[in-house]
């Protein structure tokens, strides 16, 4: 069974953009190890020559006209949803 370390949890948290608190790391470590242990039973299934499922609709090539549709949504209403904005732009902390 896959062993998951605290470092593995930290790595997964980083991949997931989650700044986990120290208190959560241990319980998540155990949970993730148990869940992976459970789903690993699939490894014993013979799937040689089987195509993976890509989708479950029977639709193919859904086309639409290449026209602009604003979906009836107002730009100002969307900007207003941002936690911080200035001069009709969304404001973020310094990137570089």
């Amino acid at each position: 069974m896959t062993q998951i370390s605290r470092d593995d949890v930290q790595h997964l948290a980083q991949l997931s953009s989650l700044a986990l608190g120290d208190d959560e790391i241990d319980s998540l470590r155990a949970d993730i190890e148990n869940i992976l242990g459970y789903v690993e039973q699939l490894g014993g299934l013979d799937t040689s020559g089987v195509e993976p499922t890509y989708q479950v609709t029977d639709l193919e090539n859904v086309w639409r006209d290449d026209t602009i549709d604003d979906y009836g949504i107002d730009r100002a209403a969307l900007i207003a949803l941002a936690p911080d904005s200035m001069a009709d732009q969304i404001k973020v902390p310094k990137v570089l």
Partner: protein, 457 residues
């Protein structure tokens, strides 16, 4: 319990006031996160003035709080979206409003619909409509409970792996998870795009069919929607070949659950249908497939919650990386984080083939087994869940135990099949038990007509 017809041709304002009063009387169940009182009354008055007409004119309803709707925030029961005011409405809500229905509130759920008990709501659990010491089921627990408590005659939910069917079973109402692609998901908070479906709770099969007829159909805003195929069937179906899935009736399944399902099968037989025991051998592995594929899709879909464009933004951060990490840590509940991280694991290089690809291949084998059975059988039946509603707190310490409650609902989800939960009596302790009817893709209306034909039997 009341039906939709009980609200038609009545004073709409009175309908809404009655529903709001019932909602307030039943606050102890915590089924609703908000009421859309002001907007509901405005719309009711417009119905009463004859400005809004339609098949549901003046009928109050509730939507799960992962549907974008006006009149109250859309929280997905999370701190992430605690004060998110939707700039648009879900297509399903728009279609109901176009028929004159009136949304009176937003129902509780597991945060981002991750869970099977509504205990993962960031705002506290919903209690079972029959026994307040027990769970509502989930993730659409609030929608099931408002229907069972007769606050409204129907409520919308979403079902990704059983989130409509299981709470319907736990609270004794009808729950419909349609064929994948039947109802537009535009304006509904995405969880796992390859299995997310929109459906309804109702007090009877005919009402459920009416709602599905209204909300289904192709939507250019959701490219996975199918051309409209849903057409209500009013006559009882001709004798059908029905398979009872024997893997769902093993001794580990609660005795009362097996007894009620067997009784329902006997009633189907008495009604002239043929019932055979059938086998779906791969079913024991479907939960493992589900808990690889769905977390993978969750990790992708929930990447959008970055604290930048909308939703929670952590305060006092210096860098962009801190902003992402802290906002997401504060905005998600533990189950959200668990699923996102499992998804990151199974999709990461080196593990992708062994987990995600293997699960998608196994999914093909599951679909093949279903297709094989549907060569002979029109309908497959079995329980909805292995037990009636469990106690609040009973499974919260053990994610695997919680996941096992989904074992009978995930197969139809992974295969994109329609599946409905219909009340089949109660346990010896008086807890509701549902039976699950599954059919081929696009057989939704037939399943509902079969359920309707059995209601008086």
């Amino acid at each position: 319990m009341s039906t939709i017809a009980d609200f038609i041709n009545k004073n709409a304002r009175q309908n809404v006031l009655d529903a709001l009063a019932k909602a307030k009387d039943n606050e102890s169940y915590h089924a609703l996160l908000s009421l859309t009182e002001a907007r509901a009354l405005e719309r009711a008055d417009a119905v009463d003035r004859g400005e809004i007409t339609g098949r549901l004119a003046g009928v109050p309803f509730v939507v799960k709080d992962n549907f974008l709707a006006y009149g109250a925030p859309t929280t997905a029961a999370s701190k992430m979206l605690e004060s998110f005011n939707a700039p648009l409405q879900a297509t399903a809500v728009e279609k109901l409003e176009a028929e004159g229905a009136i949304c009176i509130g937003k129902a509780n759920l597991d945060a981002f619909a991750h869970g099977g008990s509504t205990e993962n709501s960031a705002f506290g659990p919903t209690k079972n409509a029959i026994d307040q010491t027990r769970v509502a089921g989930g993730s659409s627990g609030g929608s099931a409970v408002v229907t069972a408590l007769d606050i409204v005659p129907f409520a919308l939910g979403s079902d990704t792996g059983g989130s409509i069917r299981q709470p319907a079973s736990f609270n004794g109402v009808v729950g419909v998870k349609p064929t994948y692609g039947t109802v537009s998901r535009y304006g509904v908070v995405a969880m796992a795009s390859s299995t997310d479906t929109i459906g309804t709770f109702a007090t009877n099969a005919a009402d459920a069919a009416l709602i599905m007829d209204i909300i289904s159909g192709r939507d250019s805003k959701d490219m996975t929607t199918l051309p409209d195929f849903f057409a209500t069937i009013t006559e009882a179906p001709a004798p059908l070949k029905i398979g009872l899935i024997k893997e769902f009736m093993s001794p580990e399944v609660d005795q009362d659950v097996r007894d009620r399902v067997n009784e329902y099968a006997d009633k189907l037989k008495t009604a002239g249908h043929q019932i055979d025991d059938v086998s779906l051998p791969i079913v024991s592995l479907t939960l493992a497939m589900y808990y690889i594929i769905v977390p993978a899709e969750i990790s992708s879909n929930l990447a959008r919650y970055d604290g930048i464009r909308y939703g929670r933004r952590s305060q006092g951060v210096q860098t962009l990386a801190q902003l992402y990490g802290r906002s997401r840590d504060e905005g998600f509940v533990t189950e959200n984080k668990r699923r996102i991280m499992i998804g990151s694991y199974v999709l990461s290089s080196g593990f992708f083939d062994a987990y995600y690809l293997q699960a998608q291949k196994a999914r093909t084998l599951l679909i093949n087994e279903f297709n094989e059975l549907f060569k002979t059988y029109d309908v497959l039946i079995g329980p909805v869940a292995p037990t009636p509603a469990f106690l609040l707190g009973e499974n919260t310490g053990d994610p695997i135990k919680m996941y096992l409650a989904d074992i009978m609902t995930v197969p139809a989800s992974l295969a994109g099949l329609p599946a409905i939960s219909v009340p089949a009596g109660t346990s010896t302790a008086g807890l509701p038990i549902g039976v699950q009817l599954m059919g081929q893709r696009r057989s939704d209306a037939m399943l509902l007509s079969l359920a309707e034909s059995m209601e008086q039997k």
